[in-house]
């Protein structure tokens, strides 16, 4: 009987701890499939964050380091500088990357650190139970913005992909989403391109993935995908924000 589908061996057999309908599972698979297809599983080193994906080292079947909250790009820098031949990536959420770890991500990009960052933006703190993130939309209710995010009080949501694209050291920056099949296919192509950018030594690469959080958004998985489409994509436009990989 012909095999039509099998799980990539670059994901372990551990049962995911994510909530039903959460986009993390999709992105994990995309990352692992890209590593497999590029044949770099034995070179890859994952640096995982603090947040919902804190256990990602249980799932990515590659050497891994668990970083302190927000520090993954600095940890990845240390690894890459010791073993430049490794393919080093960070996997970070919006609290980790866009709040407590802004200095580390900005300076990793600024140095043109030859690492890849997978940045999950779901507009909320998931693991601690639904608090406001820097990416939370204006008016969005969370446990620490119970009356909705007030722009005058907390500022507008931060667009990390656009911001990092302004930095000379970044080579490839794209924003994608995993709310429907078409977008998932695009997301995979972007992630693969980001790893290729690193393999070719072209500089810092980051893929911002718009994802959902049905539990903390208080929606069903299907509703959450629709909410993402209606609310997040208009504020966080998809597409390539920067690509210097074709330049010499």
């Amino acid at each position: 009987m012909a095999t039509v589908f099998k799980k990539t061996p670059l994901l372990t057999d551990a049962v995911l701890h994510y909530c039903p309908g959460c986009g993390h599972g999709i992105v994990h698979r995309l990352v692992a499939e890209c590593l497999e297809e590029l044949g770099i599983g034995d070179k890859a080193v994952a640096v995982v964050p603090v947040g919902c994906s804190v256990f990602a080292y249980r799932y990515f079947n590659v050497d891994s380091q668990e970083a302190a909250h927000g520090r993954a790009p600095a940890v990845a820098t240390g690894i890459k500088r010791v073993h430049p031949e490794n393919v080093v990536f960070t996997y970070q959420g919006d609290g980790d990357l866009a709040s407590i770890g802004t200095a580390e991500i900005v300076h990793a990009a600024h140095r043109g650190e030859k690492i890849t960052t997978i940045f999950i933006n779901n507009a909320i703190y998931g693991m601690t139970g639904g608090q406001m993130a820097p990416t939370t939309l204006v008016g969005q209710k969370t446990t620490t913005s119970p009356y909705g995010r007030d722009k005058d009080w907390c500022g507008s949501p931060i667009r990390m992909a656009e911001m990092l694209a302004t930095i000379d050291g970044s080579a490839y920056i794209e924003r994608v989403a995993v709310n429907n099949t078409k977008n998932i296919v695009r997301a995979k192509a972007a992630i693969k391109k980001a790893f290729q950018t690193q393999i070719e030594g072209k500089g810092f690469s980051l893929i911002e993935v718009l994802s959902n959080c049905p539990t903390n958004w208080g929606l069903s998985p299907a509703e959450s995908m629709e909410w993402l489409e209606q609310n997040m994509i208009p504020y966080y436009p998809l597409g390539v924000k920067k690509d210097t990989t074709k330049e010499d």
Binding site: D42, N61, D63, Q65, G78, R81, V82, H110
Partner: protein, 356 residues
């Protein structure tokens, strides 16, 4: 080998390179900036990596990544910078990673001053960061000793898979002394770093490497802590170091470490001229603290007066008192901030505090 005349910071950096440390991540802060400067000049020439991080926080996390990748790696800073690194040091301890941190102490709290101080004893020996951990802390009192201890620091870190700190002060960092880099034999008894993240696949002859300090299950975290504590007991047993100077039949015992200890040696000579026999107990490891040596020296029948001297409001004195366990009174002389007592002042204090 001929002696060289070197500044403490530069000698420490050279000692690290000679100990096989080819990776340095740091941030400028007085009075230790000559360490990164020396590394910036030397490491690129030997295929190593010097990187000026965006912050102390980033620097210690780069150290974490490099240590997890199996490298001999270090960072260096001074008190306010070390405060920022404490998060990372706790993670290094929890992930059981070997790394070396230099603290060239300056006056605090806050921004404090840039002059020498010993105000970070508590921070260094009582944890500093969160959780039940220790760092091995080596406290040199001369530039030569800083070199020798720096080289030992990397071996100790590798042997016990623990962050190790060289705790010096601005005086050691800024002064120049004749030094010698003695050729050292490479230790062959250090454990292999088969836990390092170097890339793994089905054909690898080791398990998949995960560098981590997260143990969400109570039992697992307990197991990790038990392992650390057992290791700390072993370090206490095997690695405690102390210098006893002129202590036999001494009437007065001084306890001091680092720069203050060497000044005490001058005070010992001054007191001798006045006919008072003074000895010095100098912890070389401030963690593990040489409890037994301190106790036994002070417990001698001849000892009538015990004075701990520090550039602090009195930090190590607590460990001295614990070691003496109430058997004798332990007095304190010192000031917080950056005020370093001279030998003459110490001698005067000895005469004042001496029991009739």
């Amino acid at each position: 080998m001929a002696k060289e005349f070197m500044k403490g910071c530069e000698a420490i950096a050279e000692a690290a390179i000679q100990a096989g440390c080819h990776y340095f991540f740091g941030y400028p802060i007085t009075p230790q900036t000559e360490v990164p400067e020396y590394m910036a000049a030397k490491l690129p020439k030997i295929g190593g990596c010097f990187l000026q991080a965006e912050s102390e926080v980033a620097a210690i996390n780069m150290v974490y990544g490099a240590a997890g990748a199996g490298a001999r790696v270090m960072t260096s800073s001074s008190s306010p910078g070390v405060s920022l690194k404490l998060e990372g040091i706790s993670y290094l301890a929890g992930a059981e990673l070997p790394a070396v941190i230099v603290n060239m102490m300056r006056g605090g709290p806050g921004l404090g001053s840039i002059q020498a101080s010993q105000g970070d004893y508590f921070q260094t020996t009582k944890g500093g960061g969160h959780g039940d951990y220790h760092v091995i802390a080596l406290a040199p009192s001369t530039v030569q000793e800083a070199i020798d201890l720096m080289q030992d620091a990397f071996d100790l870190a590798d042997m016990y898979r623990t962050p190790t700190m060289l705790l010096a002060d601005g005086t050691i960092g800024q002064m120049m002394e004749p030094v010698e880099f003695k050729p050292r034999e490479k230790r062959t008894d250090l454990p292999a770093k088969d836990w390092a993240t170097t890339g793994w696949g089905p054909n690898s002859n080791r398990p998949r490497a995960v560098v981590n300090s997260l143990y969400i299950e109570t039992e697992e975290l307990q197991e990790m802590n038990d392992r650390l504590q057992a290791r700390y007991r072993m370090i206490e047993e095997k690695e405690t170091r102390v210098e006893l100077y002129n202590v036999e039949d001494a009437e007065v015992i001084l306890c001091a470490y680092g720069t203050v200890a060497r000044i005490c040696k001058s005070a010992v000579a001054l007191a001798a001229k006045q006919g008072v026999k003074v000895g010095l107990v100098r912890p070389i490891t401030i963690w593990p603290f040489p409890k037994k040596a301190v106790h036994d020296t002070i417990a001698q029948d001849s000892v009538k007066t015990v004075i701990t001297i520090e550039i602090s409001a009195g930090q190590m004195v607590e460990d001295v008192r614990l070691a003496v366990n109430g058997e004798k009174e332990v007095q304190f002389f010192g000031k917080p901030g950056s005020y370093c007592p001279t030998a003459e002042e110490i001698c005067e204090k000895i005469m004042e505090m001496r029991r009739a």
